[in-house]
Amino acid sequence: MAVIGPVLALIVLVVIGAMMNSNFLSAANITNVLARSAFIGIIAVGMTFVITSGGLDLSVGSMAAFIAGLMILVMNAALPSMGVGVPIILLGMAVALIAGLAAGMLNGFLITVLGIEAFIVTLGSMGIYRSLVTWLADGGTLSLDFSLRTFYRPVYFDGILGISWPIIVFALVVIIGQIVMSRSVFGRHCAATGSNEHVAHYSNVNVNRTRLITYAALGVLVGIATIMYVPRLGSASSSTGVLWELEAIAAVIIGGTVLKGGFGRVWGTVIGVLILSLIDNILNLTDFVSPYLNGAIQGIIIILAVILQRESKAVNQ
């Protein structure tokens, strides 16, 4: 049940959606759902590694907002000297990746080297980044210069063969993530660390380094998600990325990764992200249930997923 449960739930949702609205299975709607899923999805793949190795990161939503704000500020500032063109977009992307890496490393450093609870560290950094972006935007909205926005837009809206860039990047991240998790030395070390830190230590696995890498990788993935996100709206404000961290964590758990760590699967996380997005999409397309109840339904799904996990574990023992 733990393996096929999320898949079944996804199929049920697709069937319900198709029955309720004929536009549900249209190419436009599917592209829309997938593209919107991509931001949370890319972050959730990183979160899968963090949770598998026994950690948690609550700061990713604020981090994304902060990185978006930083990116916009840097690109606007460089506009007079660099002009509109590919170089300034690359500069923005580099800023996002470096800022993501630095933020992730900082979380990881505080958690592993100083040995502070992941929950506390990332709760703190969540507040810090959220506050920083509000401050940078002076309480309002940071907007990318209009000329830049027009130039950058295709990164969200265009793609290859009708598949938009966020979906392509998401797919690549998932494929790489799945291989690393299930087939690589690093993935095995993550699972060992999350399963039993002592066994990992006595087996000469560098527990701290493994954990640090998961946080750093998550930071970089937040940077990548932000690179995809900024061209969509061209702005960042204090409400950017709010609750992303909880959606990402929820997706990971729905997908069958164990919250306590020790076991994770990236493809499950993808299913989890899609389930959450589809609920949102179906509620918006139908008037059967108010879209305002979206959060409630997602909440029920998350709790159900954990109950299923626990029961399948009880059967195993």
């Binding site: 690589s184 039993n196 006595y202 560098n206």
Partner: protein, 514 residues
């Protein structure tokens, strides 16, 4: 003679198919201090837990005031006035001293807690054991000896008829031990029956009225303390034939190369200034009581915990090993005593466990699953691992098969020096023998082995040389014929290796001053 309060008659205890206590008879009388002594694993703790109602007996009867009782739960034991103080304390660390002492039977004024009264009484109990800690202090902030005193104060507060203490003096200083014994004598005078264990035989002689000696899960001596002296206690605890469980010991040649030379190894809080050597082809046994710092010292040597050393020479080369990875690369590996919490991931299968320590050999980035399977096939054959299926969850394997898998896992890193810690703990005799043969073969192939063990016969049967540790230091090293149970017990208890010089000039007398 005073009245029997609590007694065991023909009590046996089985864990699964293994019988650990064989028909124990033991009688505690009111106003009497009873000492229970024996080696590690002799069955003292289990006996005490059965007496206190923490564990049910498999066979036999428990008599309370000459009536047969069966304690359904720990609560029944406490109701009957039986209080046990565990070796590892049973205090809620995040609560205050006062909250701990009244835990579960708080005093109330109406429906609110009567804090001032509880604090006042706590102070009074603490005063009786001359303990100056603040009743409001958190238990987590106390030293071990203060915690012990709080436990004793807690027992006093329950007006125990029977007080059972598992090594109460292990963490106490001499002065505190004196205070404790004063309280023990006061309790005895007021008619309490007291049972305690200790590895310090002089204390046993000093305070007890009755002495019971256990060995291998059976009572081998029981009688008045006046009829047994410290020397006889030690020899009674020991005295067991070493069967032909062990492979023959070939003599390590005198010109064998010294592969490991350690000088001044210190692991803060556990071991001080250890110096020793290990030669090729040798099995060096490390004996001593649990808590003597043996495990911590070896973990420190392998970079598993913080340690410092004046000099470590490995195969003639001066080395520093800060991480277990360093040690492994240099051919030194440690096999943990705790296979369930430190050795194996119980939720995983055998393949993932086998290769965890040496994953880099199975691919630099992606893991070669086929090579892993081949390694498992090889390990199952070489170490005779008997599992129902290859996919079995490791937690479902028997202890012996887990231990063989752990050994296989460590051997995959091809250590030249192997440190094994309690390699046969909790496993059956057949598997034990296989492991002994394996270790001896390994030594014969030119490896060197350090074996920490609390099982005397293992030290005698397998080790070429025995180093005994006591209180974080090397108490003595024994060679060939000098390796006897008697001398090992004596060294680990702080006596001279050879018998019968007593009191004043023994190391025990110096210890008492610490």
């Amino acid at each position: 003679m005073s009245l029997p309060v609590l007694a065991l008659q023909g009590v046996s205890k089985r864990f699964g198919p293994i019988e650990v206590l064989h028909s124990i008879d033991l009688t505690l009388r009111s106003g009497e201090v009873h000492a229970l002594i024996g080696e590690n694993g002799a069955g003292k703790s289990t006996t005490m837990k059965i007496l206190a109602g923490y564990q049910p007996a498999s066979e036999g009867e428990i008599l309370l005031d000459d009536k047969v009782v069966s304690f359904g739960s720990l609560h029944d034991g406490e109701e009957a006035g039986i209080v046990m103080i565990h070796q590892e304390f049973n205090l809620a660390e995040q609560l205050s001293v006062e909250q701990n002492i009244f835990l579960g039977r708080e005093l109330k004024k109406g429906w609110l807690l009567d804090k001032s009264e509880m604090r006042r009484r706590t102070r009074a109990y603490l005063d009786r054991v001359e303990c100056t800690v603040d009743p409001d202090a958190l238990v987590s902030s106390l030293s071990n000896s203060d915690k012990q005193m709080v436990e004793i104060a807690k027992a006093l507060s329950r007006d125990a008829r029977v007080l059972i203490m598992d090594e109460p003096t292990a963490v106490l200083t001499n002065r505190e031990t004196g205070v404790l014994f004063d309280q023990v004598r006061a309790l005895r005078a007021s008619g309490t029956a007291i049972l305690f264990t200790s590895h310090k035989l002089d204390e046993v002689a000093e305070v007890s009225d009755q002495v019971t000696v256990m060995r291998d899960g059976a009572v081998v001596h029981s009688g008045p303390a006046s009829q047994i002296d410290e020397d006889r206690m030690a020899t009674t605890m020991v005295g067991r034939d070493v069967s032909d469980l062990y492979p023959a010991k070939p003599r390590v040649s005198n010109d064998a190369e010294t592969v490991l030379a350690v000088e001044g190894l210190t692991v803060p809080g556990f071991a001080q200034d250890l110096s020793f050597e290990l030669r090729q082809g040798e099995i060096l046994g490390i004996g001593g009581l649990i808590g003597a710092g043996r495990t911590e010292a070896m973990e420190g040597l392998c970079g598993l915990r913080t340690a410092s050393a004046a000099s470590v020479r490995l195969f003639g080369e001066q080395v520093q090993m800060k991480t277990p990875g360093d040690a492994q690369r240099r051919g030194l590996c440690y096999l943990t005593e705790d296979r369930k919490l430190r050795g194996l991931v119980l939720d995983w299968g055998m393949r993932e466990n086998l290769t965890l320590q040496t994953l880099f050999r199975f691919g630099s980035f992606l893991i070669d699953g086929r090579a892993e399977e081949a390694a498992l096939t090889q390990a199952i054959k070489e170490f005779d691992i008997r599992a129902g299926s290859r996919a079995v969850r490791v937690g479902n394997l028997s202890g012996g098969n887990q231990q063989k898998l752990l050994l296989a896992k460590v051997m995959l890193s091809e250590p030249r020096i192997l440190i094994v810690d309690e390699p046969t703990r909790g496993i059956d005799i057949g598997t034990k023998q296989q492991i002994y043969v394996f270790l001896r073969q390994l030594a014969a192939q030119g490896h060197a082995i350090i074996m920490i063990t609390s099982e005397m016969p293992e030290l005698i049967g397998l080790a070429d040389r025995v180093m005994v540790m006591r209180l974080g230091q090397i108490a003595g090293t024994l060679d060939e014929q000098a390796i006897t149970e008697d001398s090992i017990v004596r060294l680990s208890m702080g006596l001279e290796a050879t018998s019968s010089n007593t009191a004043a000039d023994s190391p025990l007398a110096q210890d008492r001053l610490l």
